[in-house]
Amino acid sequence: MFKFLGSPPPLPRWAEVLLLPLINLFVAFLACALVIAAIGEKPVEVLWTLFQGPFLFPGNMGYTLYYTTNFIFTGLAVAVAFHAKMFNIGGEGQATLGGLGVGLLVMALGSSLPMILMVPLVIVFSAAFGAAWALVPGYLQAYRGSHIVITTIMFNFIAAAIMVSLLSGPMMQPGQMSPQTGPFPGNAILYKTHDVLHWLGMGKVAESPMNLSFFIGILALIGVWLLIWRTRLGYQIRAVGHNPEAAHYAGINVPRVVLLTMAISGALAGMMALNEVAGAQQRVILNFSGNYGFVGIAVALIGRNHPVGIFLASLLFGALYQGGTEIDFNYQSITREMVVLIQGLIILFSGALYYMFNPWLARLLYAILPRKASGEGAAS
């Protein structure tokens, strides 16, 4: 009975992938319910509003998927770096730079190129600028020994400063006082989904900021799956993540893998700008990255760094964001920042306290699940 007091038995795979994340999520919402109760509202009612928010009105689903797109990109960015045991918390800055790249491209070329050339360029620029902004911390980690976490934090602030000074200076729309660029010409934008569906003869679809970058996000999910589990580089990334010394001994150029991983991670974060800048706003506005880069960490944690998990976690967070707006509408005493609180709780329970319930659950499952006769049961 007390055999596993020191170290718990291993968790079955299905429990680790499915049950434990669900328990952690549940506890996070339970803690949030306590806060709601303390404020003096009915927790079940508020959380119910939060969850059905995405489905209440036509068009809400579009909003949900629009938020989801941001989380797909930033979640993937964090996950790719995680596979090499690197913690990229610079998604915020990389997304900012991605938007900056798109803005500079549009300013430079205007409406001179046809859409068929311009839109691919927009995609390349968002990824390239994000990648470049992640490459520097990657280089400093690989060759100069500075820690990626600290450097990427610093780079977030530097990116924000660059953004403010450019948007309130050279890039500002002439004759405007708010720090933003002028609207993009029609050749440089990603179409809104409701427009596309309308043209395709689907009738009148409710308007939302959801745009074609959602489908680029889906492609990115597939691409990351292929990269991590089906390519040589992906294998090297995972090898470096498991054990850099062993990877080096096996002939893998570790610094090169670190650089490439960070570049890919940064490119994905930068592509978040496709959704916000090229799709939804169709101009560069200040702070469009809106903490999505940080929430990407929560997405990757819950999604267990796997594209399928990241997609589901992105949907959950997208729905939460949309639900937050419903809460804003329906409750006087609760604001949409309730969602930020929930995100914090989710990161706490699914990330930092991930191991809290693990031993309990493992012991419980070990006790109640039938075991193979030849297994540990026979040994005792």
Partner: protein, 322 residues
Amino acid sequence: MNDLAFQLLLALDASLRLAAPLMLCAMAGIFSERSGIVDISLEGKLLASAFVAAAVTAATGSVWLGLAAAMLSSMMLSVLHGFATITHRGDQVVSGLAINMLAMGFTIVVGHAVFARGGQTPALTDNQRFSPITLPFADQLTAIPYVGPIYKELISGHSLLVYMALAAVPLTAFVLYRSRFGLRLRAVGEVPEAVDSAGISVFWLRYRALMLGGLLCGIAGAYLSTASGAGFVREMSAGKGYIALAAVIFGNWRPFRALGACLMFGFLEAMTARLEGVDFPVVGVLPTQLMQALPYVLTVLLLAGFIGRPTPPAAIGQPYIK
């Protein structure tokens, strides 16, 4: 004393005001990181305690209760950080991030629910704040050249919390380098196994280090909302916790060097505010927004080994497994 020198004096005075919360948070960061725990949750603790200080002061009318509550709330977040990273060996960066987000969401949600002012707390009156203290003889001594103005403008006329921040630095240094607790604290950040084999609890030491840090962050938070400001506004900490973390690294995890970094960062901030829009001959208007990024740029350069070599505590970031 000519005008330029007097302007410089005023700028230094402003630097000290801006550096005070950084100093407190940096000392908090030194305690935590020297014990082996990465602490990016300085930001969240600063924000939460700024809110609690203003909210409790507004509710009770006593700024001292506000300060006490701020220190308590910040220490509770420290204990949470410890619970996740020391007891449950969770990732220290993830835990810090969670606390920062919790603080951001919690202050706005609770602030909105309690005060219904869009996340702000009611404005505090003068007797509900830590107001400037005029040191003795400040006015009488102004006649003395140099010493007088420096004493009056730079040294005198700050709130109590600024003096507490200034005192925190030598106190931190003393505790760290001259006390038994400090010796063990430094050891636990370098070789926790050695401390453990001497029969001293690694867990309890790290918890105490974190709680001390929480205490200091609490004072810094109270400074933001009840001394330099008159009430809480949302996202009041505005990255100061991260700048303090940069100062810790810049100061190579040593109190007096970190103080130097804090003063430098404070001076940069004071100068950006002063130079905004000023048209200089030859160079023109300085890009002040870019200057705000200087602390971060300098820290990156330092970390990359272009200005000296940082030597972080050896065991930092690794949970201790007994």
